[in-house]
Symmetry: C2
Subunit: 205 residues, 2 copies
DNA sequence: TGACATATGAACCGATCGGTCCATATACTG
DNA sequence: CAGTATATGGACCGATCGGTTCATATGTCA
């Protein structure tokens, strides 16, 4: 591999970007997160991302592709964050509880009104659009995988019966999570949200 | 009150409608139910309702008003159905379980892919649109009220601790319901959906 | 400096959006 | 029959939709 090829692969020729693609992606994600896919227009995105239409198409490809990128970006960030939390948690059970307590704490806050991008998208599209069905299912899957790991740890720590069906429990937690977020998104008050956590946890113990 | 006034109030003058407003409303509800509000176009509605644009506007007022009518219609029908079920159920607890078992049974079926119009709308709009926030909140409220009645009955029947917080429990059930529907909408398999019901019920017992 | 490669903004595209208007059709009334 | 009130279909509206094209700006390289 000669030098010129190496340069071609590691640096961009021509005029450099005037914006940070990562930041722009974050801005787009925020808009999709708040308004959903259908209700978000190109104009909304351009305004939030601070770039021109041609830049958006050249860099991200279009509305659909941009949304897919945002969806994956959201998953990655969310999954990484939860994994870190799980690793730092005193116990698997504590991790699960603290996740729900954090979600409950977003009640009546802007963060709560946005919901979860994956859950929002799951509700907006279901399996209607084959283009989005896969990344959405994958997002739910990843959340389930984290809960599965947490339940497994809780079982090893003796907080959950070893005989319990990890997968079923993890799926239940995903369901409980999205349900709680839906209610919070609809304006559930903080007290009620908090009261829901121990009820949700009953299925785990 | 003379005869002519009476006639004016009880029957319509001029050319009669060529369609059944109730049926048309059902058709519109179906479309909104499947695709959501934003993704549904006037053309979609006209095709499903089998009427012309002018008829739609004259009879129902426009997309927003039509959606609101559908939302209320859905609530009424759903609430009435559940109330009947509750009255016929052998016990409050059995009612709750059977509702969840019915929802779980829609997994991998067209009915499951549609979700619940109220839950769908709650997720699509949250509190973003003040025009829809009220009917959506009302829909969730009505479901909660039914669950509250069921829990109350279960308490009287000794299946639920008398000391339990009925309202909190009812809200939990609404949350569990919407969560389950979200997952089913995303393609959860029938077996997994069924396995979730006893876990959900753990919070009640 | 000049060749080159990419980025950018603005003009432009056809399609579709939700919504209005009006001429005509169709019923009931006297 | 004429008069009246409503329903209907189709033409039409401006706005916006997502997307494309292209001339120009701006950087790197030899």
């Amino acid at each position: 591999m000669n030098r010129s090829v190496h340069i071609l692969m590691t640096m961009t020729l021509g005029r450099p970007l005037e914006f940070n693609p990562e930041h722009a992606l974050d801005a787009a994600m925020e808009v999709f997160w708040c308004k959903g896919y259908e209700a978000t227009s190109l104009a909304d995105l351009l305004a939030a991302m601070h770039l021109s239409k041609s830049s958006l198409y050249q860099t991200f490809g279009g509305k659909q592709e941009l949304f897919q990128k945002c969806l994956l970006r959201y998953q990655d960030r969310f999954a990484r964050e939860l994994t870190v939390q799980l690793n730092h948690a005193p116990s698997g059970l504590q991790f699960i509880r603290s996740v729900f307590e954090w979600v409950a704490s977003t009640a009546q806050e802007p963060a709560g009104a946005k919901g979860c991008l994956v859950a929002n998208s799951a509700n907006e599209f279901g399996q209607r659009d084959p283009v989005f069905a896969k990344p959405i299912a994958q997002g739910l899957q990843r959340l389930e995988a984290i809960f599965t790991a947490a339940v497994k740890r809780a079982q090893q720590e003796g907080d959950v019966a070893a005989s319990a069906d990890r997968t079923a429990l993890a799926r239940y937690l995903v369901s409980a999570m999205t349900g709680l977020r839906t209610l919070i998104k609809s304006g559930l008050d903080l007290r009620s949200a908090g009261a829901m956590v121990p009820l949700i946890m009953k299925a785990v113990r």
